[in-house]
Amino acid sequence: MISHFLKLEWKQFFRSSHWQKGIALKIIMGIFMLYFMVLFLGIGVGGYYILKKVYPALDPLQLVNSYLLYVVLGELVFRYLMQTLPVMNIKPLLILPIKRSTLVHYVLGKSAISFFNIVSLFFYIPFAVVLIIEGYDASGVLGWLLAIILMTQSVNFLNFLINKSTSALGSIVSLLLATIGLQKFGIFNITGFGGQVFDAVYANPMYSLLGFVIAGVLYSLNYKQLKRLVYLDEAVSQKVKEATSVDLSFANRLGDVAPFIKNDIRLIWRNKRTKTVFLMSFLFLLYGLFFFTQETYKDMPAMLMFAALFITGGFTLNYGQFIPAWDSAHYKMLMSQSFKYRKFLDSKWILMVVMTSILYLLSFPYLYFGYNIFLMITAGAIFNIGFNSLFLLYAGSFNRKKIDLNKSGFGNTQGTSATQFLIIIPLMLLPMLLFWVFNKFVGYNSGFIVVASVGIISLLFKKYAMNFIEKKYIKDKYVMINAFGKEA
């Protein structure tokens, strides 16, 4: 039975959409993963020496131990928000001749080796190895490591027990804050207490076996709870959100474009991924704070231009680059309705322009950094409105990847292809280059003027550009229908 499960896991992993990508994307994702692994390993290996150097008077192991209780509480909060039991996977197995108890063990066992439990080991294991090399008692260190692993498992299973109740989250957060508070005001020495517990494990490795008891009890509690709940109307059910309709009749003033605008607003607000894009665009507004406050960038106007473009362009860039893939699920339906394609494109354009304008209004506080910075943001906003909106619409006609709107937003690369990398050149690098050249060799305010002019000129030629873009979309209609019909 276990071999069957392992085979399923194997196929699920390698056939997931993460792997069905172009080679370029695979390489980039591979590099990212490697980067994080090296980073963790580096912290694990170097951690001991760094602590030794910063706090020469203290023992690095004891120092780590004293903060482990916070790690437990912090991890619980993090897991509460991010981790859920992968119960939906067993739905197709429920009707097969497999014992319910086996399925429950499978789900729980699978969670034991989840990403959340593995990632911290990239720190603890190298750290333990260094400790042994540095002459710590080997059996003590191994006992300590075992205790840590069991502790992670216990947290894992504790999380599933409390995951359903919001009050549990509240109590954990308040407990975490309380311990920090008690520590800070010197009422109760939590770090000392936590440290003593894990120091004791190191001194007497046999104590680590207690971890088995704790993890075992939590596991069996989970087992009992879950076994009662593996029914389609309990744990193995898809949550259905109640629909909320907001009156969008204000959009009717826009005439022919109104149905599409209303549709787009609902699209953005009712799907996870688009909602993330929308909310993230307000975070991009803060992008300037990183750049404008640092001395290093003061002499790099091109980089400041980069930041300025992002401040107002967060929505246009992130939403625009996947037009029309957002509508890929019902693209066939749209193509069988009678409307001018122009209206569909116009609504996307209006949306991008309105959002850029709103973000521009919200960027007024940047005046604090001086009028030069503000001129830069203004030039960037004009460029985003004039050039980038139109260019993204055009680039969108090259999108051939379906987007499943129901999947979540963070780290979701569905719909990404070479197009998304190529368009960065005219979108970001062109204005940066223009600004840099004119700022450096012509001076005065010519940099701002040129970037803004490109935007204004594009805006003046909008009608012609839109005609051209519309033709391209109509020409590519069949290819897009075919591509969007395929599973992502």
């Binding site: 609902r266 699209l267 019902h330 339906m333 069988s336 009678s338 709107l405």
Partner: protein, 231 residues
């Protein structure tokens, strides 16, 4: 009304559709039957200009569908759930389609009101997005949306599949009314031989992309079809 002229569709070397000629007069109720892979959905997609045929063409009301888009104004269709917009409620979806077909809010509401029985309290006022409805209820919404805006041609792919018995019977009545009271041309496909013979005046059987039968429905048709398919 609709002329299908020497249509073929090839994917690589495999030919999935090869139809010499079908002429569908105005007001006919036309049924398409055939086993899986016979090319029913491909043919409907070609009629709606969602797929281009390798050779040949379709003319609807003297409009070549791949040349002009004017046919969209008088054609309503529902092929599968991808014709629904999952994140809208049924009401919003009807309003969206209504907007595109030039109906105002009152007209849409009145039109939807006519289908109260058909919906059987499962669609309107449910506070559910279309993506969260059951397959059968999604189909009900899609079929009604296809009838909006006084279409002259209605194309429905497998309209009876997933519907509950009551709705199947009601749908048959809806389709009969369409062709009886006005000059609406209805094209449906189905796996249920009883339903098509009951509803359609003419039945075409496809097998691996080729027309193998073209029957004017009579009392003997059901027997004939059953005999053909029970090989």
């Amino acid at each position: 009304m609709i002329t299908i002229d020497t249509i073929t569709k090839k994917y690589g070397k495999t030919e999935v559709l090869n139809i010499a000629s079908i002429e569908i007069p105005t007001g006919q109720s036309f049924g398409l039957v055939g086993n899986n892979g016979a090319g029913k959905t491909t043919l409907f997609n070609i009629l709606l200009d969602l797929i281009r045929p390798t050779t040949g063409g379709v003319t609807s009301n003297n409009i070549v569908v791949s040349k002009s888009e004017a046919w969209k104004n008088f054609t309503g269709s529902f092929i599968d759930e991808s014709f629904l917009i999952g994140y809208l409620t049924a009401e919003e979806y009807f309003q969206f389609v209504g907007d595109l077909r030039g109906m105002n809010v009152a007209e849409v509401t009145a039109f939807i009101g006519e289908f109260e029985d058909f919906f059987n309290d499962e669609i309107i006022g449910k506070k559910k997005y279309l993506r969260d409805l059951s397959k059968g209820n999604q189909k009900k919404a899609g079929i009604v949306a296809a009838l909006m805006g006084n279409p002259e041609v209605v194309i429905l792919d497998e309209p009876f599949a997933n519907l509950d018995p009551t709705t199947q019977i009601r749908l048959k009545q809806v389709i009969k009314n369409l062709t009886a009271n006005s000059n609406i041309t209805v094209l449906i496909s189905s796996h249920d031989l009883t339903h098509v013979t009951e509803v359609c005046e003419r039945i075409v059987v496809l097998d691996k992309g080729i027309v193998v039968k073209d029957i004017s429905t009579s009392a003997a048709t059901l027997k004939e079809l059953e005999l053909y398919f029970s090989i």
